[in-house]
């Protein structure tokens, strides 16, 4: 938050920032200061240029049929890839996109990506709010803090570690088959059971992110005024009624805003989880195919035909971009503080 009282010096120095103020003249030392600022910005500028701006023209790969080519020795562009892409690859318009849209896996990975994200959002929301409320209400504060600390540890573990954990549970020698055997039942071969995997993904996504997701709700709830709760208590409302009539209504704006922001990311699925958790089990494949996995597999299996995954990746980037801008604009209209920008 900005300081409430700015000194005269600071107010004088605060310039209306825009894209460069053209008219006002530069004060003494201001140029020197701005040069220093620019040097500070330089590493970030270079990094972002290389990783986010420079590759933008290569997106045209989605609209061309990339052919390998070697630039002649006297050509100004000596980079083989760029030369081939811009000078020797024929334009094919939307043909690559047609290929992707008509691919048999298209409905599969679209359904998987969007479907899983929706379920993750719903389940994650209930869990995050539940944890936040529970932690906040607990009488023993120190224990509450301990629980919270433990609950968001999984966020820091990589999906590979989780794959090992899952392996310890569902591999033939794992905990779950042992439980079944002890009960005299036939142990399930979960790695080979396609239908188990949606549940596994939901459970583990919850495991990894519930604690993390609860932080925002927790900090919001602790900021609520106690007077409303007192009034409700005096009126005879028990804890549950207080939750429904005092906590939840105040929490709804935050919930809606966070969910809207999540919708902006609905075409992005956790690659590491969907690619690794099934540990190569082929039965799980159909239920693990998300758009990121699809793009990766096309790159890996057909490095000479990168124009197809390029189209799929561009599709994902573009829709994601539009969604993020739209959802952010909505959020900014309602509650500017919560918008990303």
């Amino acid at each position: 938050m900005k300081a409430t009282t700015l000194s005269k010096e600071t107010r004088k120095a605060t310039v209306k920032s825009g894209w460069g103020s053209g008219r006002t003249s530069w004060g003494s030392g201001e140029i020197k200061r701005h040069l220093a600022y620019l040097v500070m910005l330089l590493p970030g500028i270079i990094f972002l240029f290389v990783f986010s701006y420079l590759p933008l023209p290569t997106i045209v790969m989605a609209f061309k049929k990339y052919q390998l080519a070697v630039p002649p020795a006297d050509h100004w562009l000596q980079n083989k890839f760029l030369y081939a892409l811009f000078y020797k690859s024929p334009w094919v318009g939307f043909e690559n996109f047609k290929f992707i849209l008509e691919a048999p896996q298209f409905p599969v990975f679209m359904r998987n990506t969007i479907g899983y994200n929706l379920v993750f959002m719903a389940v994650g929301l209930v869990a995050a709010v539940g944890i936040a409320v529970g932690i906040n209400e607990l009488r023993q504060r120190k224990l509450a803090k301990l629980y919270h600390t433990i609950l968001f540890l999984p966020y820091f573990l990589s999906w590979i570690i989780v794959t090992y954990i899952l392996f310890a549970f569902i591999s033939p020698a794992g905990v779950i088959p042992q439980v079944f055997k002890a009960l005299g039942l036939e142990p399930p071969q979960l790695y080979n059971t396609a239908g188990a995997w949606p549940f596994i993904y939901v459970i583990f996504n919850l495991w990894k992110y519930a604690g993390n997701g609860s932080i925002i709700y927790l900090s919001t709830i602790t900021g609520f005024s106690q007077e409303l709760y007192e009034a409700a208590a005096i009126d005879g409302a028990g804890k549950w009624k207080q939750f429904i009539y005092v906590t939840l209504p105040q929490l709804v704006p935050t919930i809606i805003l966070l969910q809207i922001l999540a919708v902006g990311r609905i075409l992005n699925a956790d690659f590491d989880m969907f690619y690794n958790l099934r540990n190569g089990a082929s039965a799980a494949y159909q239920n693990s195919l998300t758009i990121d996995v699809y793009v990766y597999e096309m790159i890996a299996s057909n490095p000479s035909k990168l124009y197809y995954p390029a189209a799929a990746a561009f599709f994902q980037s573009l829709i994601g971009f539009v969604l993020v801008l739209t959802t952010n604009a909505i959020v900014r209209k309602v509650e500017p503080e919560m918008a990303m920008f």
Partner: protein, 321 residues
């Protein structure tokens, strides 16, 4: 309520508080229920990790025969002995790669993010809107996996180099937001002004005066960056095929997959999965669990220390201050 206050002054200190919390606290029953639920959640976190740890300390033959348990049926530290000796060759190399990548990447990140966010936090910087947008755009538009692949292989040519392990993760507009908010809310303008009045240039102000105050912010960014690089898998998958450059996560993943692949082969050809243990050249299961333990070890052990920075970072980042 006033009668309660009168009574409370005569009561022992423990019951003095008459804040709403006393009146409106959870009933003992509900409190207990929440404890049970939360403890269940915590067990869901701890027990799986515990089982992996136990398995790493279990004699391998027992592990394969009797399965994963809550306590080693037959204790054995041989997996770790093997790990620390020649057997852990690829593991030690992967550890070295990951450590270097994490260290270098984190330092790079803290410096570049810390530097970039500073002018953005200064109200006297004329171009802060432009440069803020310059970084935000990268968050909003993702260039896509294919463009990333072509950039790293054909243009930057960092594929099959150690740079691939950390370079793409050495900067992020998200951390710039966190750092900028931190600068704005924790460095009072008066401090900077007095430095300026004393004649300090911008660099001096930043390095000598602001930086020491901003250490918690740097710690938060360092934490996120380090964990991101340590846990990174995709870069290696996409950009590296030389064994000696693999990082920990990739090594772990490959090793576990080979068990699965062989088991599927065995079961599809009619053999039972138990025949696998006759193949002598597979690293044992307890050895694999030991590898997982040493990979997650640093994070789990350091976790209590950095936990407070993480909470701060998330709340700042999510609710723009």
């Amino acid at each position: 309520m006033s009668s309660m206050t009168n009574v409370s002054t005569a009561l022992p200190k423990k019951e003095k508080a008459t804040k709403y919390k006393d009146m409106n606290q959870l009933s003992t029953g509900a409190n207990l229920l929440w404890h049970i639920l939360l403890i269940f959640g915590c067990l869901c976190v701890i027990v799986p990790l515990w089982i992996v740890i136990v398995a790493s300390f279990t004699d391998n033959a027992t592990l394969v025969m009797h399965g994963y348990k809550f306590w080693p049926k037959v204790f054995s530290a041989s997996a770790y002995e093997f790990l620390l000796s020649s057997g852990g060759g690829s593991m030690l190399l992967a550890y070295k790669n990951t450590l270097i990548a994490t260290l270098v990447g984190t330092v790079l990140c803290v410096i570049s993010v810390g530097l970039y966010a500073y002018p953005l936090s200064r109200t006297d910087f004329r171009f802060r809107r432009f440069f803020t947008f310059y970084s935000f755009f990268s968050m909003v538009f993702n260039i896509g996996t294919v463009a990333f692949y072509m950039l790293c292989t054909s243009i930057l040519q960092i594929n099959n180099t150690l740079y691939a392990l950390f370079l793409p993760q050495s900067f992020s507009a998200y951390w710039v937001i966190i750092m900028r908010t931190f600068y704005k809310s924790n460095i009072p303008d008066s401090v900077i002004e007095s430095a300026r009045i004393d004649g300090a240039g911008e660099w001096r102000t930043l390095l000598q005066i602001v930086a020491p105050l901003a250490v918690p912010g740097f710690a938060t960014v360092a934490l996120f960056a380090a964990v991101g690089i340590w846990n990174n898998y995709f870069n290696v998958l996409l950009l590296i095929n030389k064994r000696e450059l693999y990082n920990l996560q990739y090594t772990l993943a490959e090793i576990l997959k080979s068990i699965q692949f062989l088991k599927e082969m065995a079961s599809s050809s009619g053999g039972s999965v138990d025949t696998i243990k006759n193949l002598g050249d597979l690293p044992s299961e307890s050895f694999r669990m030991a590898m997982a333990v040493v990979t997650m070890g640093p994070i789990v052990l350091a976790y209590p220390f950095f936990q407070k920075y993480f909470v701060k970072g998330l709340t700042i980042g999510a609710v723009k201050g």
